[in-house]
């Protein structure tokens, strides 16, 4: 069967009233769950898996896919409106999304995010549809050393000095790296820095740390300003949908971020948060006005959201072609396929071409549903900002606690939220930026694990890092990312000096 007739077959499977209804409902559920701080897209899929037992293959898969796509985008809502990333993958969205919303343009900020999500997701689904086997072959070539080098490109962003003095950024970055070391070491599994406590042997849960560091300081700040009058803003549709001109201006950014997201999605164990942080930084590096990033720039929102949605398509490529799930969400989709007797791998395209292409097309359908639903939801979502803070803060806090507990059913995770919340609040008040800390604690463990896996393969030799061309390229980029802010500062000082003393 040739690819076109398989696509047509998949399309026919998709265009059933029940399937389309499931996709719209699933996307709406995903958006709602993802937009609640503390609840993630992965949780939404995990909750949907048991429901699929009673459905046929296409129905079940459509449900999981639409919940996934909706959940991935929903995260941007709380990132923009509340400065609390709904999922770890929308951390970089808070950097510019919230400042723009706080400046009175919440509708516009959401509009950029939604459009970028739609385009980034769409780009990756087209790659999935037409380039899957080729891209899967590329992904297989990456060893632990290459993955380590890629992660380092994002990790060195802790030295970015645009938000705070270098000393303070490095301090919190190192705290983050240290926190990431607590728990089982990535190779032997023996607990580190647990001080003999059973509570620390499995380390701090990433989600609890994020909720603690983002939500608690923000909510404490909100409590302080609870009596201030609410800001007025407009969410008229003409402000929400970006003009074609604006999209065209950011075309390069959208394509670059979508490529980064799709490629990171291919690599097992790296994840959407790395992709959005990398894309954000690449957008910043290639911008004419890098100093404006973090103040509410549309390109910051676009980079982060295009990249994290592109991961969803990228991650399906190794899943469908090789049966390798690259992230927890893909692992849940894998179990959804297995329940229906569909074993992903090279034979899937031969044994069940219609369902396979139906699976891919369901992503595209969910992406369109997501875009339309989000436009519909934007006004009610933005209205959240009109709710008096004394009514808004308690339920958000409750969801944060539920989300932290619910992900692993440990009470300890709730103490982590409050403990790190207070630490984050204190650091922020003293002018220590939290962004490097979050980078350290999320990326540090991934980098360490990949490097140490690689070292067991090379019998302890670091030489592969210098011998493999892909490693060299990415380590080179990492080096540039690291030193660029200093060069920029130096150039700025020199030009200021020139202006002060014209030669």
């Amino acid at each position: 069967m040739d690819i076109l007739s398989a696509i047509t077959g998949g399309f026919a499977l998709l265009c059933q009233p029940d399937i389309l209804l499931i996709i719209v409902t699933g996307t709406a559920i995903g958006i709602c769950v993802g937009s609640i701080p503390g609840l993630t897209a992965t949780m939404a899929i995990a909750m949907a898996v048991p429901v699929t037992y009673g459905l046929d293959a296409m129905q079940g898969l459509s449900l999981l896919i639409s919940v996934y796509v909706g959940g991935m985008t929903g995260g941007l809502v709380s990132a923009v409106l509340l400065n609390i990333p709904g999922t770890p993958s929308s951390i970089a969205t808070t950097y510019d999304g919230h400042p723009m919303a706080a400046a009175g343009e919440p509708g516009k900020a959401l509009g950029y995010g939604i459009t970028a999500s739609f385009l980034g997701g769409g780009f990756s689904y087209l790659c999935l549809l037409f380039l899957a086997p080729a891209l899967a072959a590329v992904a297989l070539e990456l060893s632990s050393f290459e993955v380590f080098a890629i992660v380092m490109c994002a990790l060195v962003m802790i030295a970015d000095t645009s938000q705070a003095p270098l000393s303070k950024a490095l301090t919190t970055g190192l705290i983050g790296l240290f926190i990431g070391c607590v728990g089982p070491d990535p190779i032997m599994g023996l607990p580190r820095f647990s001080f003999g406590s059973d509570h620390l042997t499995s380390g701090f849960a990433e989600l609890s740390l994020l909720i603690g560091l983002f939500a608690i300081p923000q909510l404490l700040d909100d409590v302080g300003s609870v009596r201030e009058p609410l800001k007025t803003f407009s969410v008229a549709y003409r402000h929400i949908i970006p003009r074609l001109q604006e999209v065209r201006e950011s075309a390069l950014n959208i394509i670059r971020s979508s490529c980064i997201g799709t490629l990171i999605g291919l690599v097992p164990g790296v994840g959407a948060s790395t992709a959005s942080l990398l894309a954000y930084n690449q957008a910043k590096l290639s911008s004419n006005t890098p100093e404006k990033f973090g103040t509410g720039l549309k390109d910051g929102i676009i980079a982060s959201e295009a990249a994290n949605n592109a991961v969803t398509g990228g991650a399906q490529i190794p899943l469908l072609t090789l049966g390798l799930p690259g992230c927890p969400a893909a692992a849940l989709l894998l179990s959804g396929l297995m329940i229906n007797d569909l074993a992903p791998g090279p034979q899937l395209f031969i044994n069940a071409p219609e369902v396979t292409y139906g699976f891919m097309l369901a992503f595209i359908a969910a992406n369109i549903a997501m875009f339309l639903l989000m436009l519909l939801f934007i006004k009610p979502f933005a209205m959240v900002l009109k709710i008096p803070k004394y009514l808004l803060i308690p339920p958000i806090l409750a969801f944060c606690v539920i989300g932290a507990y619910g992900s692993n059913n440990r009470f300890m995770d709730i103490w982590v939220v409050f403990g790190f919340g207070l630490l984050g609040y204190a650091l922020e008040k003293k002018g220590y930026p939290l962004a490097p800390m979050v980078l350290g604690l999320i990326l540090g463990p991934i980098a360490e694990m990949q490097l140490r896996r690689g070292l067991t393969a090379s019998k302890g030799s670091f030489m592969p890092l210098l011998e493999r061309p892909v490693c060299l390229v990415f380590l080179g980029i990492a080096f540039i990312v690291m030193v660029y802010p200093f060069i920029r500062q130096y150039l700025k000082k020199r030009s200021q000096a020139r202006q002060a003393h014209p030669a």
Partner: protein
């Protein structure tokens, strides 16, 4: 006065009757089954399928709760600390024992009440098609003998596949280059990317690649051939005493009353006889392997010694 003495009598009556009714009516509230693995994998899915079947069969409410990470130690600990009243149980396989012998978990199997063994799944040893020259046990072992520590064998250090690698080393008198590369799927990734030579892996993810001819199976570490791989011999058929089967079973906290153990034995035995459930499980290469409490404990005792010996040879014992 009359009222008061009536009240006392009533209270006394309730106090006396309470333990009796509690025993008669077990379970009278939802039961929590702790799964010390993440959601989505076969160890988790299997627990959910069994729990759902028992819920339907016995009209009891069961909550499957994932406490993942930390090499299963936190989940094990949580289950062991619960009151032995039959309302908190643990779903585990041999990682309960390997985690203990590698120093990851303080608790061994004997810190629990083994209730019954429920299911098993097997692992297959395989090579990439480019390595067809070593796709039989004699050829593999000969190559490994020629160049000790040269054949690359990816494992998750201290986990099941590592013990599988050690068992092959022991049976064949050889040594491999053990590489830390993470879980089941990571090992498949390394194999398909040609960065390793020989891999121990659970069967479902390998099937499509065996069918496509990319991966060549050598042998299955089971007592009987796996129904999904009827043409692949077991190690025993080939003359090597290597068993790497994962037995999934139910455990309770230490001191679980006898009648509650009986209740679960009965419930599990009944649902395992259901052919629909068997078919559902077989899709994921999971097979019924019922063993009642005593036989289960005997099996664990034997396994414990075997795994301890391997951990000792492999230098995995905690210092």
């Amino acid at each position: 006065m009359l009222n008061l003495s009536r009240l006392v009598l009533l209270a006394l009556g309730i106090a006396l009757a309470a333990p009796l009714t509690a025993l008669a009516a077990y379970p009278e509230k939802p039961v929590k089954i702790i799964v010390p693995f993440g959601a989505g994998g076969s160890s988790d899915m299997s627990a959910r399928l069994i729990a759902k079947a028992i819920e339907k069969d016995k009209g009891v409410s069961i909550a499957v709760v994932n406490i993942a990470g930390g090499g299963t130690a936190p989940g094990n600990l949580e289950a062991s600390k619960a009151r032995p009243d039959g309302y908190t149980l643990l779903w585990q396989h041999k990682t309960l024992i390997t985690a203990h012998h590698t120093g990851v978990s303080a608790l061994n199997w004997d810190a629990f009440t083994p209730i019954c063994n429920v299911l098993l799944f097997n692992e297959v040893l395989h090579v990439h098609k480019d390595n067809a020259a070593i796709s039989t046990m004699p050829a593999l072992l000969e190559k490994a003998k020629e160049n000790p520590e040269s054949l690359r064998f990816p494992v998750q250090i201290g986990a099941g596949a590592h013990f599988g690698a050690l068992a092959v080393e022991k049976a064949g008198g050889v040594t491999f280059h053990i590489i830390a590369s993470g879980g089941d799927m990571d090992r498949l990734n390394e194999q398909l990317g040609r960065r390793v030579d020989v891999v121990f892996q659970s069967i479902p993810p390998t099937l499509p690649h065996i069918e496509a001819g990319t991966i060549i199976p050598i042998a299955v570490g089971a007592e009987e051939r796996d129904p999904k791989l009827p043409d692949v011999p077991t190690f025993r058929e080939l003359g090597y005493d290597i068993i790497t089967t994962f037995n999934l079973g139910l455990y309770g906290p230490k001191g679980l009353p006898e009648d509650i153990v009986r209740w679960w034995e009965e419930a599990v035995r009944q649902v395992l006889a259901d052919t629909d459930l068997q078919a559902e499980l077989a899709k994921q290469s999971l097979y019924p392997a019922y063993r009642e409490s005593q036989a289960f404990a005997a099996m664990l005792q034997h396994l414990d010694k075997e795994l301890y010996d391997l951990a000792k040879v492999g230098g995995l014992l905690p210092q």
